[in-house]
Protein backbone atom coordinates (compact mmCIF):
# COMPACT_ATOMS: atom_id res chain seq x y z
CA UNK A 1 0.00 0.00 0.00
CA UNK A 2 1.42 3.43 -0.92
CA UNK A 3 1.45 5.78 2.02
CA UNK A 4 2.09 9.10 0.28
CA UNK A 5 -0.10 11.86 1.65
CA UNK A 6 -2.33 13.19 -1.05
CA UNK A 7 -4.35 16.36 -0.31
CA UNK A 8 -7.51 14.54 0.51
CA UNK A 9 -10.94 16.04 -0.15
CA UNK A 10 -12.50 13.21 1.79
CA UNK A 11 -10.76 14.44 4.96
CA UNK A 12 -12.95 17.54 5.12
CA UNK A 13 -15.91 15.39 4.42
CA UNK A 14 -14.87 13.10 7.22
CA UNK A 15 -14.63 15.97 9.69
CA UNK A 16 -18.09 17.14 8.75
CA UNK A 17 -19.38 13.67 9.23
CA UNK A 18 -17.83 13.54 12.71
CA UNK A 19 -19.50 16.80 13.68
CA UNK A 20 -22.82 15.50 12.44
CA UNK A 21 -22.38 12.29 14.41
CA UNK A 22 -21.58 14.25 17.54
CA UNK A 23 -24.71 16.36 17.09
CA UNK A 24 -26.75 13.21 16.64
CA UNK A 25 -25.47 11.46 19.74
CA UNK A 26 -25.53 14.55 21.94
CA UNK A 27 -29.07 13.92 23.26
CA UNK A 28 -27.97 10.45 24.36
CA UNK A 29 -24.83 11.91 25.93
CA UNK A 30 -26.94 14.39 27.86
CA UNK A 31 -29.13 11.60 29.19
CA UNK A 32 -26.04 9.66 30.25
CA UNK A 33 -24.65 12.77 31.92
CA UNK A 34 -27.88 13.44 33.81
CA UNK A 35 -28.67 9.87 34.78
CA UNK A 36 -25.26 8.34 35.30
CA UNK A 37 -22.39 10.81 35.56
CA UNK A 38 -24.09 13.30 37.89
CA UNK A 39 -25.50 10.76 40.37
CA UNK A 40 -22.23 8.83 40.47
CA UNK A 41 -20.34 12.07 41.00
CA UNK A 42 -22.72 13.00 43.78
CA UNK A 43 -22.20 9.57 45.31
CA UNK A 44 -18.45 9.94 45.21
CA UNK A 45 -18.72 13.40 46.70
CA UNK A 46 -20.85 12.09 49.58
CA UNK A 47 -18.16 9.61 50.51
CA UNK A 48 -15.62 12.33 51.25
CA UNK A 49 -17.88 15.13 52.41
CA UNK A 50 -18.92 14.99 56.05
CA UNK A 51 -18.66 18.40 57.68
CA UNK A 52 -15.76 19.13 55.35
CA UNK A 53 -13.41 16.92 53.40
CA UNK A 54 -12.59 13.64 55.06
CA UNK A 55 -11.16 10.26 54.09
CA UNK A 56 -12.53 8.66 57.25
CA UNK A 57 -15.02 6.55 55.30
CA UNK A 58 -12.26 5.13 53.12
CA UNK A 59 -10.01 4.59 56.11
CA UNK A 60 -12.78 2.47 57.58
CA UNK A 61 -13.25 0.48 54.37
CA UNK A 62 -9.55 -0.29 54.09
CA UNK A 63 -8.76 -0.96 57.73
CA UNK A 64 -11.76 -2.55 59.42
CA UNK A 65 -11.72 -6.25 58.86
CA UNK A 66 -15.47 -6.66 58.34
CA UNK A 67 -15.05 -4.79 55.07
CA UNK A 68 -12.12 -6.93 54.03
CA UNK A 69 -14.09 -10.03 54.81
CA UNK A 70 -17.02 -8.86 52.74
CA UNK A 71 -14.89 -7.90 49.77
CA UNK A 72 -12.99 -11.18 49.95
CA UNK A 73 -16.19 -13.19 50.20
CA UNK A 74 -17.76 -11.27 47.32
CA UNK A 75 -14.78 -11.93 45.07
CA UNK A 76 -14.68 -15.59 46.08
CA UNK A 77 -18.35 -16.09 45.37
CA UNK A 78 -18.13 -14.18 42.09
CA UNK A 79 -15.19 -16.31 41.01
CA UNK A 80 -16.96 -19.54 41.91
CA UNK A 81 -20.14 -18.43 40.15
CA UNK A 82 -18.18 -17.43 37.04
CA UNK A 83 -16.36 -20.75 36.82
CA UNK A 84 -19.49 -22.82 37.35
CA UNK A 85 -21.42 -20.70 34.85
CA UNK A 86 -18.62 -21.21 32.32
CA UNK A 87 -18.57 -24.99 32.83
CA UNK A 88 -22.36 -25.15 32.49
CA UNK A 89 -22.72 -22.50 29.82
CA UNK A 90 -20.05 -23.58 27.36
CA UNK A 91 -21.64 -26.92 26.44
CA UNK A 92 -25.04 -25.24 26.11
CA UNK A 93 -23.67 -22.57 23.79
CA UNK A 94 -21.73 -25.20 21.85
CA UNK A 95 -24.83 -27.31 21.42
CA UNK A 96 -26.92 -24.31 20.35
CA UNK A 97 -24.24 -23.49 17.80
CA UNK A 98 -23.95 -26.95 16.31
CA UNK A 99 -27.60 -27.99 15.93
CA UNK A 100 -29.92 -26.85 13.11
CA UNK A 101 -31.33 -23.33 13.35
CA UNK A 102 -34.77 -24.30 14.74
CA UNK A 103 -33.24 -26.26 17.60
CA UNK A 104 -30.76 -23.55 18.44
CA UNK A 105 -33.60 -21.02 18.71
CA UNK A 106 -35.36 -23.36 21.12
CA UNK A 107 -32.22 -23.79 23.23
CA UNK A 108 -31.57 -20.05 23.35
CA UNK A 109 -35.21 -19.41 24.22
CA UNK A 110 -34.88 -21.79 27.17
CA UNK A 111 -31.80 -19.90 28.26
CA UNK A 112 -33.40 -16.49 27.96
CA UNK A 113 -36.87 -17.40 29.24
CA UNK A 114 -36.02 -17.16 32.97
CA UNK A 115 -35.08 -13.53 32.27
CA UNK A 116 -38.76 -12.72 32.21
CA UNK A 117 -39.23 -13.92 35.76
CA UNK A 118 -38.26 -11.52 38.53
CA UNK A 119 -35.07 -12.20 40.42
CA UNK A 120 -37.09 -12.22 43.61
CA UNK A 121 -39.42 -14.94 42.37
CA UNK A 122 -36.48 -17.03 41.24
CA UNK A 123 -34.82 -16.65 44.64
CA UNK A 124 -37.97 -17.86 46.38
CA UNK A 125 -38.26 -20.69 43.88
CA UNK A 126 -34.80 -21.86 44.85
CA UNK A 127 -35.83 -21.61 48.46
CA UNK A 128 -38.76 -23.90 47.73
CA UNK A 129 -36.39 -26.36 46.10
CA UNK A 130 -33.49 -26.27 48.51
CA UNK A 131 -34.85 -25.69 51.99
CA UNK A 132 -35.13 -28.30 54.70
CA UNK A 133 -38.67 -29.24 53.77
CA UNK A 134 -37.99 -28.40 50.12
CA UNK A 135 -38.49 -30.57 47.06
CA UNK A 136 -34.91 -31.86 46.87
CA UNK A 137 -34.58 -32.80 50.52
CA UNK A 138 -38.03 -34.44 50.54
CA UNK A 139 -37.15 -36.44 47.46
CA UNK A 140 -33.80 -37.60 48.84
CA UNK A 141 -35.47 -38.62 52.08
CA UNK A 142 -38.14 -40.48 50.13
CA UNK A 143 -35.39 -42.40 48.35
CA UNK A 144 -33.74 -43.05 51.73
CA UNK A 145 -30.50 -41.51 50.49
CA UNK A 146 -30.35 -39.28 53.54
CA UNK A 147 -31.90 -39.48 56.99
CA UNK A 148 -31.41 -35.84 58.00
CA UNK A 149 -32.20 -32.99 55.61
CA UNK A 150 -29.13 -31.46 53.98
CA UNK A 151 -28.30 -27.80 54.62
CA UNK A 152 -28.63 -26.69 51.01
CA UNK A 153 -29.74 -23.13 51.60
CA UNK A 154 -29.28 -20.27 54.07
CA UNK A 155 -25.56 -20.55 53.43
CA UNK A 156 -23.02 -19.80 50.73
CA UNK A 157 -23.93 -22.94 48.80
CA UNK A 158 -27.53 -21.84 48.25
CA UNK A 159 -26.38 -18.37 47.27
CA UNK A 160 -24.00 -19.71 44.64
CA UNK A 161 -26.55 -22.11 43.15
CA UNK A 162 -29.22 -19.44 42.70
CA UNK A 163 -26.76 -16.82 41.46
CA UNK A 164 -25.39 -19.19 38.82
CA UNK A 165 -28.92 -19.83 37.61
CA UNK A 166 -29.71 -16.14 37.36
CA UNK A 167 -26.47 -15.21 35.61
CA UNK A 168 -26.18 -18.15 33.25
CA UNK A 169 -27.71 -16.31 30.24
CA UNK A 170 -24.99 -13.68 30.51
CA UNK A 171 -22.48 -16.48 29.93
CA UNK A 172 -24.31 -18.40 27.22
CA UNK A 173 -25.23 -15.48 24.98
CA UNK A 174 -21.74 -13.98 24.45
CA UNK A 175 -20.36 -17.51 24.01
CA UNK A 176 -22.99 -18.29 21.40
CA UNK A 177 -22.38 -14.98 19.60
CA UNK A 178 -18.66 -15.75 19.36
CA UNK A 179 -19.13 -19.36 18.30
CA UNK A 180 -21.48 -18.25 15.52
CA UNK A 181 -18.65 -16.30 14.00
CA UNK A 182 -16.24 -19.25 13.89
CA UNK A 183 -16.33 -20.53 10.28
CA UNK A 184 -17.36 -24.18 10.08
CA UNK A 185 -14.82 -24.63 7.25
CA UNK A 186 -11.99 -24.45 9.74
CA UNK A 187 -13.25 -27.52 11.57
CA UNK A 188 -13.70 -29.34 8.28
CA UNK A 189 -10.22 -28.32 7.24
CA UNK A 190 -8.87 -29.67 10.50
CA UNK A 191 -10.72 -32.94 9.99
CA UNK A 192 -9.56 -33.27 6.40
CA UNK A 193 -6.00 -32.92 7.60
CA UNK A 194 -6.53 -35.91 9.80
CA UNK A 195 -7.21 -34.39 13.21
CA UNK A 196 -9.61 -36.16 15.50
CA UNK A 197 -12.75 -34.23 16.53
CA UNK A 198 -11.36 -33.59 20.00
CA UNK A 199 -8.10 -32.32 18.55
CA UNK A 200 -9.86 -29.89 16.21
CA UNK A 201 -11.94 -28.75 19.15
CA UNK A 202 -8.98 -28.08 21.41
CA UNK A 203 -6.62 -26.73 18.72
CA UNK A 204 -9.08 -24.77 16.58
CA UNK A 205 -12.49 -24.18 18.09
CA UNK A 206 -11.59 -23.52 21.71
CA UNK A 207 -8.92 -20.87 21.01
CA UNK A 208 -11.24 -19.11 18.56
CA UNK A 209 -14.04 -19.04 21.15
CA UNK A 210 -11.81 -17.47 23.78
CA UNK A 211 -13.09 -13.91 23.22
CA UNK A 212 -16.57 -15.20 24.07
CA UNK A 213 -15.26 -16.96 27.15
CA UNK A 214 -13.56 -13.80 28.32
CA UNK A 215 -16.61 -11.64 27.59
CA UNK A 216 -19.01 -14.04 29.28
CA UNK A 217 -16.78 -14.42 32.32
CA UNK A 218 -16.41 -10.66 32.63
CA UNK A 219 -20.14 -10.09 32.42
CA UNK A 220 -20.98 -12.76 34.98
CA UNK A 221 -18.18 -11.81 37.34
CA UNK A 222 -18.97 -8.11 37.30
CA UNK A 223 -22.73 -8.61 37.66
CA UNK A 224 -22.16 -11.03 40.50
CA UNK A 225 -20.05 -8.49 42.39
CA UNK A 226 -23.14 -6.34 42.80
CA UNK A 227 -25.66 -9.04 43.69
CA UNK A 228 -28.00 -8.18 46.52
CA UNK A 229 -31.37 -9.90 46.75
CA UNK A 230 -30.14 -13.43 46.14
CA UNK A 231 -27.49 -13.53 48.89
CA UNK A 232 -29.85 -11.59 51.14
CA UNK A 233 -32.59 -14.22 50.82
CA UNK A 234 -30.53 -17.37 50.40
CA UNK A 235 -27.43 -16.57 52.42
CA UNK A 236 -29.10 -16.93 55.82
CA UNK A 237 -27.70 -13.61 56.97
CA UNK A 238 -24.11 -14.80 57.11
CA UNK A 239 -23.20 -14.38 53.47
CA UNK A 240 -22.62 -10.64 53.60
CA UNK A 241 -21.70 -9.43 50.14
CA UNK A 242 -20.51 -5.92 49.36
CA UNK A 243 -23.88 -4.70 48.13
CA UNK A 244 -25.42 -5.76 51.44
CA UNK A 245 -22.67 -3.86 53.19
CA UNK A 246 -23.87 -0.74 51.40
CA UNK A 247 -27.39 -1.12 52.72
CA UNK A 248 -26.17 -2.14 56.19
CA UNK A 249 -24.12 1.04 56.26
CA UNK A 250 -27.17 3.19 55.71
CA UNK A 251 -28.95 1.25 58.45
CA UNK A 252 -26.11 0.92 60.90
CA UNK A 253 -24.03 4.04 60.52
CA UNK A 254 -27.00 6.17 59.50
CA UNK A 255 -24.91 7.94 56.98
CA UNK A 256 -24.63 7.80 53.27
CA UNK A 257 -20.94 8.66 53.32
CA UNK A 258 -19.86 5.25 54.59
CA UNK A 259 -22.21 3.50 52.16
CA UNK A 260 -20.97 5.68 49.30
CA UNK A 261 -17.37 4.85 50.07
CA UNK A 262 -18.10 1.13 49.82
CA UNK A 263 -20.02 1.71 46.60
CA UNK A 264 -17.18 3.76 45.13
CA UNK A 265 -14.60 1.11 45.98
CA UNK A 266 -16.82 -1.52 44.32
CA UNK A 267 -17.34 0.68 41.27
CA UNK A 268 -13.62 1.33 40.91
CA UNK A 269 -12.86 -2.40 41.15
CA UNK A 270 -15.43 -3.11 38.43
CA UNK A 271 -13.99 -0.41 36.17
CA UNK A 272 -10.52 -1.78 36.77
CA UNK A 273 -11.65 -5.23 35.72
CA UNK A 274 -13.24 -3.83 32.56
CA UNK A 275 -10.06 -1.89 31.82
CA UNK A 276 -7.87 -4.96 32.15
CA UNK A 277 -10.21 -7.11 30.08
CA UNK A 278 -10.54 -4.51 27.35
CA UNK A 279 -6.77 -4.66 26.86
CA UNK A 280 -7.16 -8.24 25.70
CA UNK A 281 -10.36 -8.13 23.69
CA UNK A 282 -12.72 -5.56 22.40
CA UNK A 283 -15.88 -6.22 24.35
CA UNK A 284 -18.18 -4.49 21.90
CA UNK A 285 -16.98 -6.74 19.12
CA UNK A 286 -18.15 -9.75 21.04
CA UNK A 287 -21.38 -8.23 22.31
CA UNK A 288 -22.19 -6.13 19.28
CA UNK A 289 -22.27 -9.02 16.78
CA UNK A 290 -20.09 -7.14 14.28
Amino acid sequence: MPTTSVPDPSKKHQRREHALMLALVSPALLVILALIVLPVGWLAWQSVDHDGFTLENYRRVFTEDIYWRSFALTFEISLAVTLIALLLGYPVAYLANSVPKGWSILILALVVLPFWTSVLVRAYAWLALLQRTGVINQFLRYLDVISEPLALVHNTFGTVVATVHILLPFMVLPLYATMQKIPADLMQAGASLGASPSLTFFRVFLPLSMPGVLAGCTMVFVLCLGFYITPELLGGGRTVMVSMLVSRNVELYNQFGAASAVAVVLLVSVLAIFFVVSRFISLDRVLGQK
Binding site: E64, D65, I66, R69, S70, L127, Q131, R132, T133, A151, H154, E232, L233, G236, G237, R238, V240, R248, V250, E251, L252, Y253, N254, F256
Partner: protein, 348 residues
Protein backbone atom coordinates in the same frame (compact mmCIF):
# COMPACT_ATOMS: atom_id res chain seq x y z
CA UNK B 1 -37.45 5.41 44.88
CA UNK B 2 -40.81 6.49 46.10
CA UNK B 3 -39.55 9.92 46.98
CA UNK B 4 -38.24 10.43 43.55
CA UNK B 5 -41.55 9.29 42.08
CA UNK B 6 -43.45 11.87 44.04
CA UNK B 7 -40.90 14.53 43.26
CA UNK B 8 -40.92 13.66 39.62
CA UNK B 9 -44.71 13.55 39.58
CA UNK B 10 -44.86 17.01 41.08
CA UNK B 11 -42.33 18.31 38.61
CA UNK B 12 -44.16 16.88 35.65
CA UNK B 13 -47.66 17.75 36.66
CA UNK B 14 -46.46 21.06 38.03
CA UNK B 15 -49.09 23.50 39.18
CA UNK B 16 -51.82 21.22 38.01
CA UNK B 17 -51.58 18.54 40.67
CA UNK B 18 -49.35 19.81 43.43
CA UNK B 19 -49.84 23.53 43.48
CA UNK B 20 -53.33 23.79 42.03
CA UNK B 21 -55.28 21.86 44.59
CA UNK B 22 -53.45 23.43 47.51
CA UNK B 23 -54.34 26.91 46.40
CA UNK B 24 -57.97 26.31 45.55
CA UNK B 25 -59.35 23.53 47.67
CA UNK B 26 -59.07 22.24 51.20
CA UNK B 27 -55.94 21.78 53.28
CA UNK B 28 -53.86 18.72 52.60
CA UNK B 29 -50.94 16.75 53.91
CA UNK B 30 -48.72 14.02 52.55
CA UNK B 31 -48.63 11.05 54.85
CA UNK B 32 -46.06 8.31 54.55
CA UNK B 33 -46.22 4.82 55.96
CA UNK B 34 -44.77 1.39 55.25
CA UNK B 35 -47.24 0.13 52.70
CA UNK B 36 -48.84 -3.29 52.38
CA UNK B 37 -51.65 -4.64 54.49
CA UNK B 38 -50.66 -2.36 57.32
CA UNK B 39 -51.12 0.84 55.37
CA UNK B 40 -54.40 -0.41 53.96
CA UNK B 41 -55.65 -1.14 57.46
CA UNK B 42 -54.74 2.28 58.78
CA UNK B 43 -56.28 3.96 55.76
CA UNK B 44 -59.64 2.45 56.64
CA UNK B 45 -59.28 2.76 60.40
CA UNK B 46 -57.55 6.09 60.87
CA UNK B 47 -56.64 8.04 57.75
CA UNK B 48 -59.99 8.20 55.97
CA UNK B 49 -62.00 9.00 59.14
CA UNK B 50 -59.45 11.66 60.15
CA UNK B 51 -59.51 13.28 56.72
CA UNK B 52 -63.28 13.36 56.80
CA UNK B 53 -63.49 14.80 60.29
CA UNK B 54 -60.87 17.49 59.66
CA UNK B 55 -62.00 18.21 56.11
CA UNK B 56 -58.50 17.74 54.73
CA UNK B 57 -57.01 15.70 51.93
CA UNK B 58 -54.46 13.08 52.94
CA UNK B 59 -52.12 12.12 50.12
CA UNK B 60 -50.39 8.85 50.80
CA UNK B 61 -46.99 7.54 49.98
CA UNK B 62 -45.21 4.46 51.24
CA UNK B 63 -41.66 3.30 51.75
CA UNK B 64 -40.36 0.31 53.71
CA UNK B 65 -37.58 2.25 55.39
CA UNK B 66 -38.27 5.96 55.67
CA UNK B 67 -35.01 6.99 57.31
CA UNK B 68 -32.81 7.52 54.23
CA UNK B 69 -35.64 9.43 52.54
CA UNK B 70 -36.19 11.64 55.59
CA UNK B 71 -32.51 12.47 55.57
CA UNK B 72 -32.35 13.33 51.88
CA UNK B 73 -35.63 15.23 51.82
CA UNK B 74 -34.90 17.46 54.77
CA UNK B 75 -31.25 17.67 53.74
CA UNK B 76 -32.26 19.03 50.35
CA UNK B 77 -34.21 21.78 52.17
CA UNK B 78 -37.45 21.06 50.34
CA UNK B 79 -39.27 18.16 51.96
CA UNK B 80 -42.41 16.99 50.17
CA UNK B 81 -43.67 14.75 52.96
CA UNK B 82 -45.42 16.08 56.06
CA UNK B 83 -46.13 13.23 58.44
CA UNK B 84 -44.21 9.98 58.63
CA UNK B 85 -45.24 6.77 60.38
CA UNK B 86 -41.89 5.20 61.19
CA UNK B 87 -40.16 3.23 63.97
CA UNK B 88 -39.98 5.56 66.96
CA UNK B 89 -36.18 5.54 66.95
CA UNK B 90 -36.15 7.35 63.60
CA UNK B 91 -38.25 10.18 65.06
CA UNK B 92 -35.93 10.56 68.05
CA UNK B 93 -32.72 10.38 66.07
CA UNK B 94 -34.21 12.70 63.46
CA UNK B 95 -35.21 15.11 66.21
CA UNK B 96 -31.66 15.25 67.53
CA UNK B 97 -30.27 15.77 64.04
CA UNK B 98 -32.69 18.59 63.25
CA UNK B 99 -34.66 16.60 60.71
CA UNK B 100 -37.91 16.37 62.69
CA UNK B 101 -40.12 19.14 64.07
CA UNK B 102 -40.43 19.55 67.83
CA UNK B 103 -44.03 19.01 68.86
CA UNK B 104 -46.17 21.44 70.82
CA UNK B 105 -48.32 19.08 72.88
CA UNK B 106 -50.72 21.86 73.84
CA UNK B 107 -51.94 21.57 70.26
CA UNK B 108 -52.07 17.77 70.48
CA UNK B 109 -54.37 17.12 73.48
CA UNK B 110 -54.92 13.47 72.53
CA UNK B 111 -51.19 12.92 72.56
CA UNK B 112 -50.68 14.86 75.78
CA UNK B 113 -53.12 12.48 77.50
CA UNK B 114 -51.01 9.44 76.62
CA UNK B 115 -48.47 7.98 79.07
CA UNK B 116 -45.15 9.76 78.94
CA UNK B 117 -43.27 6.64 77.91
CA UNK B 118 -45.41 6.58 74.77
CA UNK B 119 -44.29 9.94 73.43
CA UNK B 120 -41.20 12.08 72.94
CA UNK B 121 -40.65 15.77 72.19
CA UNK B 122 -40.67 14.81 68.53
CA UNK B 123 -43.17 12.00 68.24
CA UNK B 124 -46.23 10.25 69.51
CA UNK B 125 -46.81 6.49 69.51
CA UNK B 126 -49.09 5.41 66.74
CA UNK B 127 -49.26 1.63 66.94
CA UNK B 128 -47.56 -1.19 68.81
CA UNK B 129 -46.15 -4.47 67.68
CA UNK B 130 -44.10 -6.97 69.55
CA UNK B 131 -41.01 -9.07 68.90
CA UNK B 132 -42.15 -12.36 70.34
CA UNK B 133 -40.95 -15.90 70.73
CA UNK B 134 -42.79 -17.89 68.07
CA UNK B 135 -42.65 -21.65 67.62
CA UNK B 136 -43.95 -24.53 65.58
CA UNK B 137 -46.73 -26.48 67.29
CA UNK B 138 -45.73 -29.50 65.25
CA UNK B 139 -42.29 -29.58 66.87
CA UNK B 140 -43.61 -28.58 70.28
CA UNK B 141 -47.14 -30.01 70.64
CA UNK B 142 -46.85 -29.42 74.38
CA UNK B 143 -44.23 -27.89 76.66
CA UNK B 144 -43.46 -25.19 74.12
CA UNK B 145 -40.64 -22.73 74.80
CA UNK B 146 -42.04 -19.88 76.85
CA UNK B 147 -39.13 -17.57 77.61
CA UNK B 148 -35.87 -16.46 76.07
CA UNK B 149 -34.08 -18.73 78.51
CA UNK B 150 -35.96 -21.60 76.86
CA UNK B 151 -34.95 -20.32 73.43
CA UNK B 152 -31.30 -20.44 74.53
CA UNK B 153 -31.73 -23.90 76.06
CA UNK B 154 -30.81 -26.08 73.09
CA UNK B 155 -30.79 -29.27 75.17
CA UNK B 156 -34.28 -29.01 76.58
CA UNK B 157 -35.71 -27.56 73.37
CA UNK B 158 -33.82 -29.07 70.44
CA UNK B 159 -34.69 -27.58 67.07
CA UNK B 160 -33.66 -25.07 64.50
CA UNK B 161 -33.77 -21.41 65.38
CA UNK B 162 -33.90 -18.06 63.68
CA UNK B 163 -33.32 -14.53 64.94
CA UNK B 164 -33.63 -11.18 63.29
CA UNK B 165 -30.45 -9.89 61.67
CA UNK B 166 -30.64 -6.69 63.68
CA UNK B 167 -29.66 -5.73 67.22
CA UNK B 168 -33.08 -4.23 68.07
CA UNK B 169 -34.96 -6.59 70.41
CA UNK B 170 -32.31 -9.26 69.86
CA UNK B 171 -29.99 -7.77 72.49
CA UNK B 172 -32.97 -7.35 74.82
CA UNK B 173 -33.90 -11.02 74.32
CA UNK B 174 -30.32 -12.12 75.01
CA UNK B 175 -30.27 -10.21 78.28
CA UNK B 176 -33.61 -11.65 79.37
CA UNK B 177 -32.26 -15.10 78.51
CA UNK B 178 -29.37 -14.28 80.82
CA UNK B 179 -31.77 -13.47 83.65
CA UNK B 180 -32.28 -9.72 83.42
CA UNK B 181 -35.83 -8.69 84.34
CA UNK B 182 -37.87 -7.08 81.53
CA UNK B 183 -38.17 -3.77 83.40
CA UNK B 184 -34.45 -3.65 84.31
CA UNK B 185 -33.04 -3.88 80.80
CA UNK B 186 -31.98 -0.28 80.20
CA UNK B 187 -29.33 0.91 79.85
CA UNK B 188 -28.49 -2.35 78.06
CA UNK B 189 -25.42 -4.22 79.19
CA UNK B 190 -24.16 -4.57 75.63
CA UNK B 191 -21.11 -6.73 76.43
CA UNK B 192 -23.23 -9.17 78.36
CA UNK B 193 -25.83 -9.29 75.58
CA UNK B 194 -23.27 -10.05 72.86
CA UNK B 195 -21.62 -12.66 75.06
CA UNK B 196 -24.97 -14.38 75.48
CA UNK B 197 -25.60 -14.12 71.73
CA UNK B 198 -22.28 -15.85 70.99
CA UNK B 199 -23.70 -18.80 72.94
CA UNK B 200 -26.72 -19.23 70.67
CA UNK B 201 -25.04 -18.16 67.43
CA UNK B 202 -23.95 -21.66 66.32
CA UNK B 203 -27.54 -22.83 66.70
CA UNK B 204 -29.09 -20.12 64.57
CA UNK B 205 -29.97 -21.43 61.12
CA UNK B 206 -31.15 -18.16 59.63
CA UNK B 207 -30.71 -14.53 60.52
CA UNK B 208 -33.75 -13.05 58.84
CA UNK B 209 -33.94 -9.59 57.41
CA UNK B 210 -37.57 -9.08 56.45
CA UNK B 211 -40.83 -9.80 58.20
CA UNK B 212 -42.06 -11.80 55.22
CA UNK B 213 -38.98 -13.97 55.45
CA UNK B 214 -39.54 -14.68 59.14
CA UNK B 215 -43.13 -15.74 58.45
CA UNK B 216 -42.07 -17.99 55.61
CA UNK B 217 -39.36 -19.67 57.71
CA UNK B 218 -41.86 -20.70 60.34
CA UNK B 219 -44.59 -21.57 57.86
CA UNK B 220 -42.35 -23.86 55.80
CA UNK B 221 -40.94 -25.61 58.83
CA UNK B 222 -37.48 -24.32 58.02
CA UNK B 223 -37.09 -23.39 61.67
CA UNK B 224 -38.80 -24.67 64.81
CA UNK B 225 -38.67 -21.46 66.81
CA UNK B 226 -37.71 -17.88 66.17
CA UNK B 227 -38.07 -14.29 67.18
CA UNK B 228 -40.76 -12.75 64.99
CA UNK B 229 -43.27 -9.92 64.96
CA UNK B 230 -46.60 -10.96 66.47
CA UNK B 231 -48.66 -9.82 63.46
CA UNK B 232 -46.61 -11.96 61.10
CA UNK B 233 -47.03 -15.06 63.23
CA UNK B 234 -50.78 -14.65 63.67
CA UNK B 235 -51.19 -14.03 59.94
CA UNK B 236 -49.49 -17.34 59.19
CA UNK B 237 -51.50 -19.08 61.91
CA UNK B 238 -54.73 -17.71 60.41
CA UNK B 239 -53.82 -19.33 57.13
CA UNK B 240 -53.67 -22.67 58.86
CA UNK B 241 -50.02 -23.12 59.79
CA UNK B 242 -49.45 -24.89 63.07
CA UNK B 243 -47.58 -22.05 64.72
CA UNK B 244 -48.04 -20.02 67.86
CA UNK B 245 -46.27 -17.45 69.98
CA UNK B 246 -46.10 -16.11 73.51
CA UNK B 247 -46.24 -12.50 74.69
CA UNK B 248 -44.18 -13.54 77.69
CA UNK B 249 -40.93 -11.53 77.54
CA UNK B 250 -41.93 -10.05 74.21
CA UNK B 251 -40.30 -6.76 73.32
CA UNK B 252 -42.98 -4.16 72.81
CA UNK B 253 -42.04 -1.82 69.98
CA UNK B 254 -43.86 1.04 68.37
CA UNK B 255 -43.97 3.13 65.31
CA UNK B 256 -44.66 6.79 65.92
CA UNK B 257 -45.88 9.73 63.97
CA UNK B 258 -43.52 12.61 63.47
CA UNK B 259 -43.41 15.67 61.26
CA UNK B 260 -40.58 16.50 58.92
CA UNK B 261 -38.68 19.69 59.66
CA UNK B 262 -39.90 22.35 57.26
CA UNK B 263 -42.85 20.22 56.17
CA UNK B 264 -44.92 22.06 53.54
CA UNK B 265 -48.18 21.75 55.51
CA UNK B 266 -46.97 21.82 59.08
CA UNK B 267 -50.06 23.26 60.76
CA UNK B 268 -52.39 20.81 59.08
CA UNK B 269 -49.95 18.07 59.97
CA UNK B 270 -50.19 18.93 63.67
CA UNK B 271 -53.97 18.84 63.48
CA UNK B 272 -53.77 15.47 61.81
CA UNK B 273 -51.35 14.15 64.44
CA UNK B 274 -53.85 14.92 67.16
CA UNK B 275 -56.70 13.32 65.23
CA UNK B 276 -54.69 10.21 64.36
CA UNK B 277 -54.15 9.29 68.02
CA UNK B 278 -57.78 9.92 68.93
CA UNK B 279 -58.84 6.91 71.05
CA UNK B 280 -61.73 5.94 68.76
CA UNK B 281 -59.72 6.02 65.54
CA UNK B 282 -56.97 4.16 67.35
CA UNK B 283 -59.42 1.54 68.54
CA UNK B 284 -60.45 0.96 64.94
CA UNK B 285 -56.98 -0.12 63.87
CA UNK B 286 -56.90 -3.57 65.54
CA UNK B 287 -60.23 -4.39 63.89
CA UNK B 288 -58.33 -4.52 60.63
CA UNK B 289 -54.86 -5.78 61.53
CA UNK B 290 -53.05 -7.48 64.41
CA UNK B 291 -51.35 -4.41 65.77
CA UNK B 292 -52.18 -2.66 68.99
CA UNK B 293 -53.25 0.95 69.28
CA UNK B 294 -50.57 3.46 70.22
CA UNK B 295 -53.00 5.22 72.54
CA UNK B 296 -53.92 2.95 75.48
CA UNK B 297 -57.17 4.90 75.95
CA UNK B 298 -58.40 3.03 72.88
CA UNK B 299 -59.01 0.04 75.16
CA UNK B 300 -61.52 2.10 77.15
CA UNK B 301 -63.69 2.96 74.16
CA UNK B 302 -65.51 -0.41 74.02
CA UNK B 303 -64.78 -0.54 70.30
CA UNK B 304 -62.36 -3.42 70.82
CA UNK B 305 -64.06 -6.56 72.11
CA UNK B 306 -62.37 -8.15 75.14
CA UNK B 307 -61.44 -11.34 73.27
CA UNK B 308 -59.84 -9.26 70.53
CA UNK B 309 -58.05 -7.05 73.04
CA UNK B 310 -56.51 -10.13 74.63
CA UNK B 311 -54.70 -10.85 71.34
CA UNK B 312 -53.13 -7.41 71.03
CA UNK B 313 -49.57 -6.60 72.07
CA UNK B 314 -50.38 -3.29 73.77
CA UNK B 315 -53.40 -4.53 75.71
CA UNK B 316 -52.47 -3.61 79.30
CA UNK B 317 -52.18 -7.13 80.73
CA UNK B 318 -50.21 -8.31 77.68
CA UNK B 319 -48.04 -5.21 77.86
CA UNK B 320 -47.29 -6.02 81.51
CA UNK B 321 -45.63 -9.32 80.50
CA UNK B 322 -43.32 -7.59 78.07
CA UNK B 323 -40.39 -5.22 77.96
CA UNK B 324 -41.06 -1.78 76.49
CA UNK B 325 -38.28 -0.94 74.08
CA UNK B 326 -36.43 2.23 75.00
CA UNK B 327 -35.92 4.13 71.77
CA UNK B 328 -34.24 6.86 73.78
CA UNK B 329 -31.52 4.39 74.71
CA UNK B 330 -31.18 3.04 71.18
CA UNK B 331 -30.74 6.50 69.72
CA UNK B 332 -28.17 7.45 72.40
CA UNK B 333 -24.45 7.14 71.56
CA UNK B 334 -24.31 3.84 73.47
CA UNK B 335 -27.23 2.52 71.42
CA UNK B 336 -25.70 3.57 68.15
CA UNK B 337 -22.40 1.96 69.14
CA UNK B 338 -24.25 -1.27 69.88
CA UNK B 339 -25.93 -1.07 66.49
CA UNK B 340 -22.57 -0.74 64.76
CA UNK B 341 -21.13 -3.60 66.76
CA UNK B 342 -23.82 -5.86 65.29
CA UNK B 343 -22.19 -5.86 61.86
CA UNK B 344 -18.91 -7.25 63.14
CA UNK B 345 -20.74 -9.74 65.37
CA UNK B 346 -22.52 -11.13 62.33
CA UNK B 347 -19.39 -11.46 60.23
CA UNK B 348 -17.22 -13.14 62.78
Amino acid sequence: MTTRNVGLGCALLGALACGGTAAGAAEQITFVSQGGAYQQAQTVAILDPSAKKLGITINQDSIPDAWPAIKTQVGSGKPIWDVVDTPTGNCLRGGEQGLIEKLDFSKIPNGAAMPEAYRSPYSVSYEFYSSVLAFSQKTFPKDAPNSWADFWDVKKFPGRRALRNHPFATLEAALMADGVAPDKLYPLDVDRAFKKLEEIKPHITVWWTSGAQSAQLLNDGEVDMEMAWNGRVSAVAKEGAKVSFTYNQGILQSTSLCILKGAPNRDTAVKFLNEAVDPVHQANLPLHIDYGPGNPKAFETNVIKPERAAQLPSEPSNAAKQALMSYAWWSSPAGEAAEKRWASFMQK
